[in-house]
């Protein structure tokens, strides 16, 4: 029995050691270290004011250690961003900006990463209450990294900034700029992922401005054009349909808006992937009516 135990344990320990050594330089190891460190990062971000400097230094040192141990990992650029975020939490904005600028210099070919790094630079200016400088940076992102996800969210981000500052006029102007921008991007990049993102952000602009009819119409375009494109996931399509239903029922208080929208999609696209589901949604609206639950009754 003892002999068997020793043999089995040796095999198990040996296998563990071999597999550990073979895989210890890979991306999974970086993921593991980064995830554990990111938990500390999240704890710091909850209330950075109360965190002692020593904790910041420890987290920074650990990020730098992982980066130096795995310089060629595909995850390392993301770790640089996190390192910059920690400096920003520590209110060392100059050092944070230096790190973000280094990322842009080191990875000019990675548009998405560079856009994100620029966005973080803009945020450091915001934290310093220097909106003018931040706005300049955000507009550079829109100009130079227009097709990235980061650039796509900047116009609505700017509008939300003014809304949070209770600057009504600038909020409205920013939303108008955002709407024009998203319409142009949607039209210039029709049937691409960029076009889909632009259309979704356009609908968000309308929703945030309580322009319900335009929002529903725009969401209808998302469903009609992009479900079969491969860019829209089933979960996002489901959420889009639910948003149309809720806005039609509760905000516009008219089931027929959603019913006509879906019926139009079904009529124009006989082979549409969601036709069966849309017919069920139309039925559900008719059933609600049949039970005497009118949209105007909903609060």
């Amino acid at each position: 029995m003892k002999k068997a135990l020793v043999i089995y344990l040796s095999i198990l320990v040996g296998l563990f050691a071999v597999l550990f050594v073979l895989g210890h330089k890979g991306d999974y190891t970086v993921e593991r270290k980064a995830w554990k460190l990111y938990q500390k990062h999240i704890d710091i971000a909850k209330d950075p004011v109360v965190i002692p400097d020593r904790t910041f230094e420890d987290v920074i040192a650990e990020y730098e250690k992982i980066i130096s141990q795995h310089p060629d990992s595909r995850l390392t650029p993301g770790l640089h961003i996190r390192l910059g975020e920690v400096y920003a939490l520590k209110k060392d904005y100059a050092q944070a900006r230096k790190i973000f600028n280094d990322i842009i210099k080191l990875h000019p070919e990675n548009q998405e990463l560079s856009a994100e790094a620029m966005f973080k630079i803009g945020q450091t200016h915001e934290f310093e209450r220097n909106w003018v400088e931040a706005n300049k940076v955000y507009n550079v992102i829109i100009r130079e990294y227009s097709k990235t996800d980061t650039a796509m969210r900047v116009p609505i981000y700017i509008a939300n900034y003014y809304r949070n500052e209770n600057d009504f006029q600038r909020t409205m102007e920013a939303y108008e700029v955002a709407v024009r921008y998203y319409k142009k991007m949607a039209s210039d990049h029709d049937n691409t992922r960029v076009g889909l993102n632009a259309t979704r952000y356009l609908s968000n602009c309308y929703l945030e401005q309580n322009r319900w009819a335009e929002a529903v119409e725009t969401l209808g375009v998302v469903i009609e054009k992009y479900v079969d494109s491969g860019y829209l996931t089933i979960e996002n399509a489901d959420m889009t349909i639910k948003t149309i239903n809720i806005v039609s029922a509760y905000q516009l208080q008219d089931y027929d808006i959603a019913i006509k929208l879906y019926q139009g999609i079904i009529d124009r696209n006989p082979g549409h992937r969601l036709n069966g589901y849309l017919e069920k949604v139309i039925d559900a609206f008719h059933q609600l009516r049949g039970k005497g639950v009118e949209a105007s009754d909903l609060k």
């Binding site: 095999i11 296998l15 895989g23 890979g26």
Partner: protein, 290 residues
Amino acid sequence: MPRKKVPKELVGLLRGAINTFTTHPIILVPFVTIAFVQVFVLEILYFVPRFPLSDFFNPIIRTLWGEEFIHYPSNFIILPKLFQYAQIPLYIFVSSFFIAVAIAIIAAINDGRKVRFLSACRDVFSQYVHIFVGALISFCMFYGLHKVYGLMIVRALAISSTEGIFFIIKTVVIKGAPHFNLLIGVFVTTVFAFVFPLIAIEKKKIFPAIGLNFKHLWGSFWFVAVLVFLPTVFYLPVLLLRGNIGGIAQTTFPEARVLVIIVSILVTVFIDATVYTAITMYYLLKKEHS
């Protein structure tokens, strides 16, 4: 000459089983071997997201479950499921064989014969096909009953009552799933309790062994059921642990899910050793009395 009735002393038999394998640790070797194979498979699954195993497994996991589950820490969410799937071929091809080896060892010790683990393996290997078919049949029965329970859950979910007897039934059926699965396991083990002893000791073929199994089980079904059930009760804390593993892993570390599986493997070694030793001893007692 009338057949003597075999005395049914539950606690005595269980105590005797534990004494037997503590005084003859060679009985535990097959069960420890089963645990070794399971931990070996668990180790492989633990290293699946890393090179070199990732080259083979990542495309499969990505296709079946999604990109998320080849990255830390989500790979630990799927690891218990992968291990559960691996348990099926492991039981049918490996564990059943070593259970039969353990039974052969117990019988040899009962006869006063000296026995070694490898020679017992060689001896039982001649009956491997019958053991394999026996394991397959018992697994199919377990799977069938599990599916029936699944249908009961679906029916229970359709109950709309929020109080009263139907609500109680709904709660028991849905929340009692892990416990009912344990009971199904106890039931299936009981129904096929003497198949492996008949194959390993009497060298019967599978279908005669199943027939004789029911003959032996006649009149002692509930005794054997309780004999199997009592040691299995020690698995309940593991079930409790597994039920709360999500919260535990979130509060501590994601690898806690692996530790829980290891604990369940170790607990299962002692439960199986007790159950099969007790069943074999009872079978040998019945044989002596008949």
